[in-house]
Subunit: 152 residues, 4 copies
């Protein structure tokens, strides 16, 4: 609540642009993920626990963990891009540090380096218990490319 990093917000225009893009991602809706915070260069995405996102032991599946981490990093980069551009993931690497358990998981994408063509993000995913206890369950690094938006 009092985390100062949380208080910084992306501009309403940027938030609208990102939310609209996110809403077009069929996978995010299908998983049940939602954006929980948008700051310049940092985006948080939350995914609640439910059977549809598990692996064979009932933990969050690495694919679900990675999916929201990838989207969080992509939109973190996108907060810093001009309006007529789009973002594509070039590659990412993720270490699964601990079983991803909790009432929900939260992915945080943070821009490490923003270049004209390429952006590099840090990816973190936390398992969050119902009582708010947080544990780092995955950590990664992602490269993204800025592309011009195709004319519609």
């Amino acid at each position: 609540m009092t985390d100062p990093a949380r208080q910084e917000q992306a501009s309403p225009e940027v938030q609208k642009r990102i939310q609209e893009s996110f809403d077009r991602q069929g996978l995010m809706a299908h998983l049940g993920a939602r954006i929980s915070h948008m700051a310049p260069g940092r985006v948080h995405i939350v995914l609640p626990a439910r059977p549809e996102v598990t692996q064979q032991h009932g933990y969050f599946h690495a694919g679900a963990t990675s999916a929201i981490a990838d989207s969080a990093g992509g939109y973190a980069a996108y907060t810093l891009f001009p309006e007529d551009t789009d973002v594509l993931t070039v590659e990412y690497k993720i270490n699964l540090l601990a079983p991803a358990v909790g009432a929900h998981i939260e992915a945080i994408g943070t821009v490490l380096k923003s270049g004209r063509t390429l952006t590099v993000c840090q990816l973190e995913v936390y398992g969050v218990q119902a009582d708010g206890e947080r544990r780092l369950v995955a950590n990664g690094q992602q490269t993204l490319i800025r592309v011009n938006k195709p004319a519609q």
Copy 2:
């Protein structure tokens, strides 16, 4: 059909063990993925196109692409493990080489190096058109660890 690599099959016991584990992965069912081939050290997973697995441009979401790639590699490693063990993904890295489009995508996990503790897999994902044309859309590398199965 006549791909010789396709004709090699894992033993019925191994196929059964892997299929049962796969069937417990809520995420794979929720995405609509299925195992299409199991050979010793190599597993294929197919994911048909549908709106529930897309990103903002209607392509397969990198998270869906990665999820089946991660599972294909994990089960490829698992084909070579003894019966009382389990497999966990330590980390993976994936490059998204081209927009993932097609009637379905197919992930192929192949064991590069099988050690006592760690296994390293190559991950490939192809976009497959309705006419069978295939294009490599993602390529990755994954590290897995063998763990003893917890007593039930």
Copy 3:
């Protein structure tokens, strides 16, 4: 000088064990690298600029940057290991964020997660100018494994 993180030191026993291992690395001596700091879970390695470590434009070669990053992460993990063990790099991934220039580069390996078998480190490399100005030139992530030391 007043960086509090710098003031924490690994125990003399750990420092001795790591320095002795480092001194056996022919490559580190050949490159001209030296350990500049050892704390529990964090090791710094410095490499001065000279023609022998350059790429074709006169910057530090990515191979030299990676070599000291890999060693810094490996020794950071090693600071937390028991005495009769050894450390091996399983894999690492590194992004080269900017041309590596400066009077020297400094790699910092920091343990993110220390497990019984595997350890995950963050890797950072800074280009440091003669006036002390620092710039992040590479960022990475590394997985290491603890092994029992072979009897001598």
Copy 4:
């Protein structure tokens, strides 16, 4: 000797351009590395064993292994670039699969995907015994960017 892949050669112009760039890499000379083969989209670099390239157990240091792998991939990409351009490594990931031992190690960089801006390479490093026996000791994946050569 009769490996057909070996018989394909890059054009004399491309070979000259790459050899000149390689000869400006102070690190490659300092390590004792040399280019052993240049084909379109594939470059081999050899590094003979000597104490100056070892880690603490006398094996090839991961930093030396990575350095020649990175250069092999970079020059593999460069074989496919137009003349007035240059290549930079964006990032790479490498798994160290086995102790790197042998009379020499040989890195092979192979282009997986060549795009207008980005190129993705596969990296392999083999330990080669005096009798010619080869073993895969490292495997990786690398992203490179094409840049315009600065005016001289």
